[in-house]
Symmetry: C2
Subunit: 290 residues, 2 copies
Amino acid sequence: MESSSSLTVALCQYEPRVGDLPGNLATGSRFIKQAAASGADLVVLPELAASGYTFQSEPEAASASQTAEELALTGWGELCREHGLWLVAGFSEAAGDRRYNSAALISPQGLAGVYRKAHLFNDEKLFFSPGDTGFLSFELPWGRIGILICYDLWFPEAARLLALRGAEMICVPTNWVANFRRQATDERGWTMGDYACVGAATQNQVFVAAADRIGEERGVQFVGCSCLVGPDGSMLTGPAPLAGESLLVTEVDLSWARRARRRTPRNDTFGDRRPELYGDLLGRADTVPW
Amino acid sequence: MESSSSLTVALCQYEPRVGDLPGNLATGSRFIKQAAASGADLVVLPELAASGYTFQSEPEAASASQTAEELALTGWGELCREHGLWLVAGFSEAAGDRRYNSAALISPQGLAGVYRKAHLFNDEKLFFSPGDTGFLSFELPWGRIGILICYDLWFPEAARLLALRGAEMICVPTNWVANFRRQATDERGWTMGDYACVGAATQNQVFVAAADRIGEERGVQFVGCSCLVGPDGSMLTGPAPLAGESLLVTEVDLSWARRARRRTPRNDTFGDRRPELYGDLLGRADTVPW
């Protein structure tokens, strides 16, 4: 059998409901089935797709959480097995006495990995522990992928580390909120999140595949605009609309990421790094000398 | 006197000629005067504005090079003094037995700093030594700025380090070449460089002010599209046209960069960093474990 680096990616944009685990699993399953019918090999669901976003109390957060193994045994895992799919899906992860804002990687064979969000946004700090997995890439049949969640994209260290660890595509379950600009989207219909995806793709020669949620939850407005960006920073699919469900299906060839990194004998975007100049990246902002 | 964080920035887009130091100084002076007449406080010229880009021999490169002190004593320095301007300008720097692709920071009082390009692109490696200054920010009357040159923007470590060192604006003298996409610009008239600027701005909450050159030199095509981007990633001015001279003048308030970093009590984009997870950024790409 010939190996191939081409796969079909489906980004699912919809509205989870806070605290409604069974309902959210059902909505996610509806999208996974649609994606499978569209020929998807890899499906990305939004951040906290199983639980919803705006927890208000500890009991509410606890009741909307589950272990990664439990998540992989739900209908989502069954659909992966049935359709030979891989799935990246956000969920509220119960892990001992801690809770993480996590994304599970589920293969046709079951749970394949977990990423725990490293950079917690705003009130997430009240309900989640900071992720302790670091930034790991995972081997899929078509190449390597990494996972970041939402606010992680605003920390260029994170996408860079995934690229250095071989990721050719970064999957981003996200819950982009109406941001601190006057308008959520610019005249072109792009959010800050779309530009953050393009930035991460351009700087690291990776695909970035972001599945965002929509709707409003307890006063927090989410902005859709899911997108898939190529390793040269070009917008391949999307942005999806600001509101309204959306399924974005794109065929990508992960070898493009590798080709984009070494374009001439004297131009190797990874080999040209100067790590000896980067030491202060390990300092906290208030300790880096000016 | 009240201090202010607002200043007027002028980006100069034009065509230097390789090896023609006197002609290039004259063209640069014409733009600096135009910028002064437009009320500019800070003027940015392209990469290698004094020397041109595509050196073919060692003697040619040597004859187009000068020390930073020499550059500051040319008409460019005189115009800074006469108009009370600050200037960021690319030049081929002679420094002992080495040569750097550098940018000088010239104040109304004279030479204020030099940045030597850390990441050399393609054939630049034949004529320049890799920069040894690291990534430094400079204090100006309105706030702090950093300098990157062209290909540096494709190394997210560089802009990040400048932001951590207090830079509120990154000035980018650049010579963006017709890139490895099929077309230099997309349907919106943006180059990869414009997206790289937006990416760096979005991820670091800094202004990015890029002055590009135009024209063709010995078969290398440059793509203009100079731009000024705000700390939220919004395109404030530009991109300028792909071809044709352009002077982009914009008033910016550098305090926006500081405000963009701490938007709620629980949302501090610099304080939320996780340096303990970033250690492998100091490894070379081929030594980072997957």
